[in-house]
Structure formats: C-alpha cells, structure tokens
C-alpha cells in the first residue's frame, strides 16, 4: 500500500533533481513503519458521515506551481504536480472522500480564480493575511520562516527587510506579503538618509531567482524552503543570508460563501494532524518541522 502510493507520487528518477532523490530517500526511511500516507485516519469516517456532500467528488485546487518542495511539476513526469502542499491537500481529500485536480495560475490570480468559482480550494503556500481574508476564508496550517536569497557571498550585506536593504534592488512576486513590508521600509531608509530600496515585481519564483542570477536584483525574500532550493540549484552563485520571521501563517483558502466546506476542511486537517501525516509530510519534503502549526480559521467580514 505504502509503496504503491510512493511510486505514484515520485516515480523512478532520471538525471536531474538530485535533491529530490535525496528527499525521497529520506522520506522513505522516515516513513517506513509509520502510518501510510494515503490511508484515511479513523476519525475521517465520522467526518464523511457528517459532510457527505464532497464524498466522491473531484474538486479543483488552484496552485502557483513554481515552488519546488511545496508545489511544482515533477521534473521526471511533468504531467504530475508534487510537493508538501499537494500531499497535504490529497490527505485532506482522502479524509473527506474527494479527489483533487490542479489549475496552475499566477500567484496574484490564486484568490481571483477561487472567487470566480474556477477553483474550489487553494493550497499553494499562500500566507493568510487580513487583506487576503477579505477575498477568501483561510484555514492556517503552517508557520512562516522567510529566507533572504542573495548573490554568492552576499556582496551588499543584506540581512533582512531592515536597514541593510536600503538602496538594494529586491525581486518579489506580485501579490507576495513581502511586497508591502519592503514598501514600508522605503520611508524609513529615506528618514535615515539612505537610498530607498527598489522593488522588481515578477510572477513566479523562477523569474525572481533569474533576476538575481542576471544581476538585476540584489535579493529575493521568500519562504526559507524556496530559498534553500534555489541555493541548492545554484550553489556557486547564490547564498541564503539569514532567516527572518514573518508574522503570518500559511493557510488553505476556501470560498467565503461556503462556511460548511471551510469547517469540513478544518476538521479534516485536524484528523490528518492527529494521525501524524502532517508531520510525516514535513519530513518527507525536508521541511523544517518547526513549521508545524495547529489549524485556525482566519475570516473577516
């Protein structure tokens, strides 16, 4: 059962993506003897009885699949999406009895796609903020640690979204929470008599990373795992400066007008966590276990 499941997720490796192979091996060893990922926890039977309306359905998960480790296509079988978020979403789906298909959109379009009804759920490493909660309800599931990606040797001496970033060019994705943080820094730099930081907005991680590689940007602040993956891919050219704490949680977004679905997903996530699947998946994808967070609901009117 377990081996069938693993084979489905991560087929035999070819040339590239050595770190994926390591991640899979690590996950295989860690998970051996633990609860199989695809077996729905016992409490799920009761949930499926309580929320029968999604059983047997296929729901659409809108993702921005440019974040290896969380959600990206499988380099060895590009027809599949793989990552922590993908596995977590499917575990929740298994619990409530639904399957997921994926709709790849830009980061800024995630919540629009959800609001227009073109998707049913968004599990795509999106930070739950009050502003975003105006467009969707969130079930938070992970703490946020950001990393600061810089050129090898950190020539500009950047150590976070602070005075060290004054005068630097920062690459960010449109719609990222780091964008307003950097914008807030601008007047502070000016007040201190330093040049303001500049912002370059792209629409996926790869473009932000390329901006640093091409010398257009000095830094890219994003989830620490994303930064680590980039440094692994270009160890001679990139460095992680430091990790910074961002006062947000990562959340699953669901439509505001479907509170019952939100509650069902919350209940399923609690079951998934209780069964140890959440923690196992963090290890499988080599993510920091300190990310683990018990779920909350973030909703505003």
């Amino acid at each position: 059962m377990f081996f069938r499941a693993m084979k489905n997720r991560t087929p035999v490796k070819r040339r590239t993506g050595v770190f994926f192979a390591i991640a899979v091996l690590a996950a295989t060893f860690t998970l051996t003897g633990m609860a199989p990922t695809r077996a729905a926890p016992a409490g799920c039977t009761a949930l499926q009885a309580k929320y029968p309306q999604w059983k047997g359905k296929t729901l659409v998960n809108a993702i921005n699949p440019h974040t290896p480790g969380y959600e990206a296509i499988d380099p060895n079988d590009p027809s599949k999406y793989v990552g922590f978020d993908i596995d977590l979403g499917e575990a929740i789906g298994d619990c409530l009895g639904f399957k997921l298909t994926y709709k790849p959109v830009t980061f800024a379009a995630l919540l629009t796609t959800l609001a227009s009804g073109q998707a049913d759920i968004v599990i795509s490493d999106i930070y739950a903020t009050k502003e975003r909660a105006k467009a969707a309800d969130f079930i938070t599931y992970s703490k946020v640690f950001d990393g600061v990606l810089v050129a090898k040797g950190n020539p500009k001496g950047i150590h976070g979204i602070d005075m060290t970033m004054c005068g630097a060019a920062a690459a960010e994705n449109t719609g990222f929470v780091e964008v307003p943080l950097i914008q807030d820094l601008m007047p502070k730099c000016k007040a201190a008599g330093k040049p303001e930081p500049t912002l370059q907005l792209y629409d996926n991680n790869a473009n932000c990373i390329q901006a640093i590689l091409a010398g257009r940007a000095d830094t890219y602040v994003n989830d620490v795992n994303t930064v680590d993956q980039a440094v692994k891919a270009y160890p001679d050219k990139l460095d992680k400066a430091v990790a910074v704490t961002i006062p947000y949680s990562v959340g699953i977004a669901v439509p505001k007008n479907k509170p019952e679905f939100r509650d069902a997903v919350l209940a399923a996530l609690i079951e998934v966590q209780k069964a140890g699947i959440h923690m196992a998946l963090l290890k499988k994808w080599s993510l920091d276990v300190n990310n683990f967070k018990e779920p909350d609901i973030l909703t505003v009117d």
Binding site: P65, V105, S116, N204
Partner: protein, 539 residues
C-alpha cells in the same frame, strides 16, 4: 545542448503545442467570423451599425489581451457564464483578433478599384454577386499577407492563455523551468517550437499566395518563391504585357471598312424623320444635382429615341459623366426624373426608392449598358470571363451559352485571339474593346459610353472608335456618348448636345451644331478644340 534536445523532444512540452494550436485556432476562427460581422457593419449603409462596430473596435483593440483573458476567465463566471479555460482563452483571443481582422477585411474590400464596382453595378450585379464575384476574389489576394501576419501574431498571443491556467506551451515551459531550474534550455526549446509553428504559418501563407496568383507560373518559379532571398521582380510584370503588334493596334479586321474615313450614312433627313417616329428610349426631365453649393446638373432635360445616337459634348466638369451615371442610377440626384423605356430606374412604380438589390435587378431587366473612360474591366478575370461571367451571374445563362456569346462578341471586336488574356496584359485599346463587348453581351436597349477613348494613347483611339461606329451604323443601337472626338461625333451621332454648367446650352443635328454653332459657349468650345477648321475643310 543535450538538455536542450531533451526538452525539445519532451512529450510534456510537445503536448502543450496541441493546446497552443487549439487556442490559436479558436481565436482565429472566432476572430474571422466576428471580424466579418464587424466589417460588414462598418461598411453597411446604416450608420447605427457602423457606430456600434466602431465602439466595439475601440474597446477591444484598445485594451490589453491579458486583461481580456482574465476577464473571460474570472469575470464571466460572476454573471453565470463559466467557460472552460481553453474556451475562455479562445473567446478572449477571438474578441481581440476580430477588430484587427475586420480592418484587414475592410481594407481589402475598400482597396478594390471603385471603377470595377461601378462596372459590376452597371451590369446589373446585386451587392451579393458583386461581393462574391468581383470584390472578394480580388480582396482575398491582397489580404493574404496581412492574414499571415495576423495568424502569426495570434499564435504568439495564445501564450497569454498561460495566465488563465491553460497548460499550453508557455505555461508548461515556465512550470518546468521552476521545478528543474533549467531555465535557458527549456526556453530555448520552447522558443524553437514556437518558431517551427510560426514557420509553418509562413509556409501556408506563401502557398496560398502561389495558389491565388493570377499569373500562371512554372513549377520552377513556384519553388523559387519559397526561398527566403527571393525578391518580387517588379519590372517583370511590365515585360509580360505584350507590345501590341501593328496589326492588333490597327483597326480590327472584322470591323475594318475599306477606308476608315467615310461610312456610307443614310440620308440624314430621312434618318432624322424615321427616328422622330420611334418610341422614347431615355427621357431626362428637369434633372438637378449638386454637391454642396456647386450645381453639377442644373435643370437638365434630354430625350433620346430608340436607335438614336446622341453625342454629349462640353468642357470637363460640364456634367456629361454625371448625367450618364445618373441615367444608369449609379448616382442619385436631388430633383427631376429619368425614365428608361418608360420605367423610372431606381424607383418602385409607387415612387419609393428601391434597395440596391432591387435596383440591380431592374438594371438587368431594363438593359442599360455602360462603357467607362477607364475601361473598368474586372482585373482578376480573363477577357472571356469579363464578358461571360456577368451573363451567368446576372442573367442566369449556362456556361456554354455564356462562353459562346463571349467568344462571338470578342471576335466581333477583333479580340478572338486574346480570349484568355488578363486585362493587365492587354493594351488600353484592347481593354476598352473587351469592355464594349461586355456591355453588349446582355443585348442592352441603351448603351452609355462615358468618354470611351479619353484614356487611350492617340494611336489606339481609332480601333475603339471603329467598333462604336459599327454599332451605331450596323446595329442601330441606341447610344449616348460623351466624347471629345468631334469628327467622330459628327460622323456617328444623329444629334449633338452641348453641355455647359450642368445644362444643355445647345442641341441639334450633329452637322448643324458642329459646323454652325449658334451659342457663343459652343462656338468658343469648338474653336478651342481646334476642330472647326478641319471639319470645314473636310466638308
């Protein structure tokens, strides 16, 4: 390099091509259909339709496609229209392409020579026949390069569908780049795939240009055209026009009288008396027409009897051409009326203005033929088709019957050897003779000739005049000719009408008016034309 080849042959990317083509196809097909509607609205007689089409063009040509894509995908569901991603992308691309395609269509249609359209109308073609047989075939030829451009542009624009989750080539490339970090190998591979697709479009365009080329070319030529360094030899086209041989340039054999100078005319007085007994073929009554403050026709009246030949003389701008165009209802007028064999062309019996389609039908029934100064042959058709085509399309003759009639008439005007020549390969004189044959083909009851020799080189004038002379003398055709050929008018016309300032200032038997003009304007005109003297010496 091996990575590049790996991605170039990767099924995941190749499958993206299918969606790229699907979106492009939907966009082009939808854009073409919508563009046809928009173009017809803009070209329509009804200004409200034109304004609506203009408004659509302003909005959809003036906003970025990426916004239209997001709108079709994310906004339409809010009003209950939830399209699949590919359909939404196709819709947005179609809505965006439509105004561009409409402008290509409009430019193509407007680019067709106005004279040919007037000639088609004069032959009794309905707007539909005119569009299908004359305008569309010529417009399509000129539109092929622009359509090629538009197709390439639509193909590249389909990549914007990546923002609304259509997993086409671009979206697949960016996702693959994100997960493998092989940024450049992947984008070079996907760029090459796009190049292959756009290259295929270019090949289709060139193929279409060859297929639609009127000048039949040898297979070697066709192959050479596909080579990128080929240049269109501009001079070649001119060389193709054959230099008219002395025999062809001179009077057509079949019509040639022994001496071109004098045709034995019947006794003028007797002919005059005979004509006076006949029915009225054309009656123009108190016709007025003005462009703003400038009066082109000023209370003009003229009666032409069956079998009569009337020559309209007068300086440029005196209203000769406008009068002829009014008689055929190619122009409208402000007041007064015209009757052809008792029927008011362009009006229902109760006086109501008829639609262009009904006017066309009426023209064909009443039989008013017209020959234009600029020949106005249908330039995409051979001499034979110029004559035979209208017989089939307007008068419903069979192909064999129409071809026989065309051959017979073209032989009569001395062009039996040039049946399959295109107008551009004929001399002006030959073209005008084809135009006369074309006007004669449906057996018109009245033939209008608008300065038939004015656009011809002097040495080609006589061949055309000979043809007309024969029609007047041998066939007894009712004709109204505007001309500057005074001697010709004197020989052929029963009556001459001298126009000035939009009215007839003097008319009467040809010899009387030409040799002994009474009106001072006529006298001045004739002396300026330096024609009085040779006529006098001749008589």
């Amino acid at each position: 390099m091996s990575l590049f080849l790996h991605y170039l042959s990767m099924p995941y990317l190749l499958q993206g091509i299918e969606l790229t083509l699907e979106v492009t196809f939907l966009g082009l097909l939808g854009g073409l259909l919508l563009g046809l509607v928009l173009a017809s609205m803009q070209l329509s007689r009804f200004s409200v339709l034109a304004a609506l089409a203009r408004g659509y063009t302003v909005i959809f040509r003036g906003t970025p496609l990426i916004l239209q894509m997001v709108f079709a995908y994310d906004a339409l569901p809010h009003i209950g229209i939830k399209l699949a991603a590919v359909a939404a992308a196709g819709l947005a691309l179609a809505a965006n392409e439509a105004p561009f395609i409409a402008e290509i269509l409009r430019a193509g249609v407007l680019g067709v020579d106005k004279g040919q359209i007037a000639a088609g109308q004069a032959l009794g073609m309905t707007p539909f026949v005119l569009m299908r047989r004359i305008i569309a075939p010529q417009a399509i030829r000129t539109m092929i390069p622009a359509f090629g451009n538009e197709s390439v542009s639509a193909l590249k624009n389909s990549s914007l569908a990546s923002v609304i989750a259509v997993p086409e080539l671009t979206l697949r490339s960016t996702q693959l780049a994100s997960s493998t970090f092989d940024f450049f190998s992947i984008f070079f591979a996907s760029g090459l795939l796009y190049l292959l697709l756009t290259g295929a479009v270019a090949a289709i365009q060139l193929g279409a240009e060859i297929v639609f080329d009127l000048d039949r070319s040898s297979p070697q030529d066709r192959l050479a055209r596909l080579l990128p360094w080929r240049r269109v030899p501009l001079a070649m086209k001119l060389d193709l026009a054959p230099v008219p041989s002395p025999a062809a340039a001179s009077v057509p054999e079949t019509l040639a009288p022994a001496s071109p100078v004098v045709i034995p005319l019947v006794d003028h007085k007797r002919r005059e008396a005979a004509i006076a007994q006949r029915s009225i073929a054309v009656a123009v009554e108190n016709l007025r027409k003005s462009y703003g403050p400038h009066a082109v026709l000023n209370d003009l009246s003229l009666t032409v009897r069956t079998g009569e030949v009337v020559a309209l003389l007068g300086p440029s701008g005196s209203g000769k051409s406008t009068l002829l165009r009014c008689i055929n209802r190619l122009e409208t007028w402000d007041s007064g009326g015209i009757r052809i064999n008792g029927h008011a062309l362009g009006f229902a019996p109760n006086g109501q203005i008829l639609s262009p389609r009904e006017v066309a039908r009426q023209r064909a029934e009443l039989g008013v033929g017209m020959v234009f100064q600029q020949f106005n042959l249908f330039s995409h058709l051979t001499a034979r088709e110029n004559v035979a085509g209208p017989l089939r399309w307007v008068h419903g003759r069979s192909k064999a019957e129409a071809d026989r009639r065309a051959r017979e008439l073209l032989e009569r005007v001395g062009l039996g050897q040039r049946l399959d020549a295109l107008p551009r390969h004929m001399s002006g004189g030959q073209q005008q003779r084809v135009a006369i044959a074309r006007a004669l083909a449906p057996n018109p009851s009245v033939l209008l000739l608008d300065e038939p020799t004015s656009a011809l080189d002097p040495e080609l004038v006589s061949e055309v005049l000979e043809v007309i002379r024969k029609l007047a003398v041998e066939d007894g055709l009712t004709m109204i000719i505007s001309t500057h050929q005074l001697r010709f008018a004197e020989e052929v016309a029963d009556r001459v009408a001298f126009l000035s300032g939009g009215g007839i200032v003097e008319q009467g038997p040809a010899r009387d008016v030409l040799l002994h003009p009474k009106n001072s304007l006529t006298q001045r005109f004739l002396s300026v034309m330096d024609a009085v003297k040779p006529l006098e010496t001749q008589s």
